[in-house]
């Protein structure tokens, strides 16, 4: 319990960001038409690709002689980029079809 309280205190700014983001996410989504569920899921899927930044940091901090670390980092960067690039491109392709024929 003490540990938890101390942790919260030390990271209170981030905890605020987390709590506010949760509400923001709910607010932003709650009135979306069913038509857009798939593109929206796909778009959100691309956005969590932001994890790539963590992969880049891991890669950039890895010891240049530790090949295991380099390899893990490389795989992480590759799959993270797949998530980002693939996610946004797929979403764009879906939405391309909608925007073409707006009434």
């Amino acid at each position: 319990m003490d540990l938890l309280a101390r942790f919260l205190h030390q990271h209170i700014e981030m905890v605020y960001v987390v709590v506010l983001s949760i509400f923001l996410g709910i607010e932003v989504i709650s009135r979306v038409p069913a038509v857009l569920h798939t593109p929206l899921m796909s778009g959100a899927n691309a956005i969590h690709g932001v994890v790539i930044i963590g992969a880049i940091i891991v890669m950039g901090q890895a010891d240049a002689h530790n090949f295991l670390a380099l390899f893990i980092g490389l795989v992480a960067v590759i799959v993270g980029t797949l998530n980002v690039v693939g996610g946004f491109v797929v979403t764009d392709r879906m939405l391309e079809m909608f925007s073409k024929k707006k009434p």
Binding site: A34, T38, V51, G54, M59, V75, V79, T81, G86, V89
Partner: protein, 492 residues
């Protein structure tokens, strides 16, 4: 200076994610929203590569490796996303989601080894050194690894199910096994949180901190997480995959946010949490569209064929209709409504469907599409497919509108849809899909159902609609059938 620019880049990135998500939830702005979020992502990535400073103040190194990774992932991702057929979109989303989860798990794994390494060698002999493993960080690493890995293995199974390579699989006690694995992971996580490093007072390691965390235990947790993801998704029926993918999508968001915590990185944190909460809400909205609770989707696995099979075989026969008869009925109707389903998607028949629409409209037949929110394999799947074939947006009716219009329709043409038009959802409380809102096609004057065979649909249950007196069956691949119909109508 660099750091403040980077902070600014992250702030802009976070804002673009919020704006992007907001715009994605409206049809007219959705595409721009996606591009804005992508631009913000690009900014955040470039900023990280060139401006990030390690805690020692040094810039990142290994640029060759970073750019190699970005290039490989970027090219594969771009090509795969451009090449994939519109019908396989859900599978693609599932794979990309799994990749994100895997990325988060790999970050957690390398941070774990980093901590371990740092703490075993960073001591100086004899003296008490205030090196300790920050417990909060350790817990976050474990949580990120577990969620990321579950999301990865779960998404891979979901992918396999969507393209039909993996069948539903249940065995007795599966839920109990799942619960046991989940409990074991949580217990091991608590164990990681509670242990403290030992100070060696004798032997070769005199004076060194040896963390009591064994890499083997960590590997066990990795294994458990992978197994849990597989076992968690395996029993869930294929029809519920969209909900599962949406849930795993939200999970990956949370894993990404854990990474944000780990590096005190604002853009990862906001991006991850936004996706986590938005994905969570989206999951609930999808469940609501099917009138089922999330718990029901996750635990009450579909496909209770053994229970329903016995009672559903007492039907009379069904009627078949020939292509030329169907063409005549279509050509002389005043108002036709088409109910597209996954069969249309599999057969890539959306363009043929649009051609039929044009031929019929030339003859003065009024034609509309009735779209069930979960028709196909994902919510909105049918809208995307028909939009691809240039079907005008205003011809697509949502479920409520469509149900009001069915009584005035002369003919409903059901193309490869099954569960979304199954009256059992309204009439039969024993049916697994009971309570799901359906398209009430039986209210039209006549129904023609195109299917490849009499096999039950995705939920694995019989459909009484097919045995109704006003229903006629038109067997065959949706695309071939539509093309034949078009040819016949042109000859009339």
């Amino acid at each position: 200076m660099e750091l403040s620019i980077l902070t600014l880049a992250y702030l802009i990135g976070s804002v673009t994610f919020i704006i992007g998500l907001k715009m994605l939830s409206r049809p007219d702005t959705a595409r721009r929203g996606n591009l804005i979020a992508a631009a913000g992502m690009g900014l955040a990535i470039l900023g990280t590569i060139f401006l990030y400073r390690q805690s020692s103040g040094a810039p990142l190194h290994n640029y060759g490796w970073i750019f190699t990774g970005l290039a490989i992932g970027g090219v594969i991702g771009f090509v795969a996303a451009r090449k994939v057929l519109m019908t396989s979109m859900p599978e693609m989303v599932s794979i990309f989601n799994g990749m994100g989860g895997f990325c988060a798990a790999l970050i957690a794994i390398s941070e774990f080894y980093h901590l371990l390494h740092f703490n075993t060698t960073g001591t100086t002999g004899g003296f008490t050194v205030s090196l300790f493993i920050p417990k909060g960080m350790m817990v976050i690493i474990i949580v990120e690894m577990i969620i990321g890995m579950v999301s990865f293995s779960g998404s891979m199974i979901a992918f396999g199910k969507l393209n039909g390579r993996i069948k539903d699989f249940t065995f007795p006690g599966q839920q109990i096994l799942n619960m046991a694995i989940l409990a074991a992971m949580i217990l091991l996580g608590i164990y990681f949180a509670c242990i403290t490093p030992h100070l060696m007072t004798g032997g070769n390691n005199l004076g060194q901190f040896i963390p009591a965390i064994s890499p083997y235990v960590f590997c066990t947790v990795i294994g458990l997480a992978i197994a849990y993801g597989i076992l968690f998704v395996l029993p869930i029926g294929g029809a519920d995959m969209p909900v599962v993918i949406s849930l795993l999508n939200a999970c990956t968001g949370v894993a990404a946010a854990c990474g944000g915590f780990l590096y005190s990185n604002a853009v990862m944190l906001t991006g991850g949490i936004l996706v986590g909460s938005a994905g969570g809400i989206l999951t609930l909205l999808m469940c609501r569209a099917m009138n089922r609770s999330l718990g029901n989707v996750l635990i009450g696995s579909f496909g209770g064929t053994a229970a329903t099979e016995g009672q559903t075989h007492q039907h009379g026969g069904y009627k078949e209709i020939s292509i030329s008869d169907a063409a005549i009925v279509l050509a002389y109707a005043h108002k036709v409504m088409i109910v597209p389903g996954y069969g249309l998607a599999v057969a890539q028949a959306q363009h043929a469907c649009h051609d039929l629409e044009k031929v019929l409209e030339d003859r003065g037949v009024q034609l509309k599409y009735a779209i069930h929110p979960v028709a196909g394999r994902m919510p909105g799947h049918m809208n995307v497919l028909l939009a691809e074939a240039d079907v005008p947006y205003d011809k697509l009716l949502e479920m409520e509108e469509a149900n009001e219009e069915f009584p005035s329709a002369d003919l409903v043409l059901v193309l490869g849809a099954n569960d979304v038009v199954n009256p059992a959802a309204k009439n039969d409380p024993a049916s697994p899909i009971y309570g799901m809102p359906i398209l009430e096609v039986e209210r039209a004057k006549m129904v023609i159902v195109n299917k490849r065979s009499m096999k039950p649909g995705y939920a694995g249950i019989e459909n009484d609609l097919f045995f109704e007196p006003k229903t006629s069956m038109l067997f065959g691949d949706a695309k071939t059938v539509l093309q034949q119909l078009i040819a016949e109508i042109k000859n009339i």
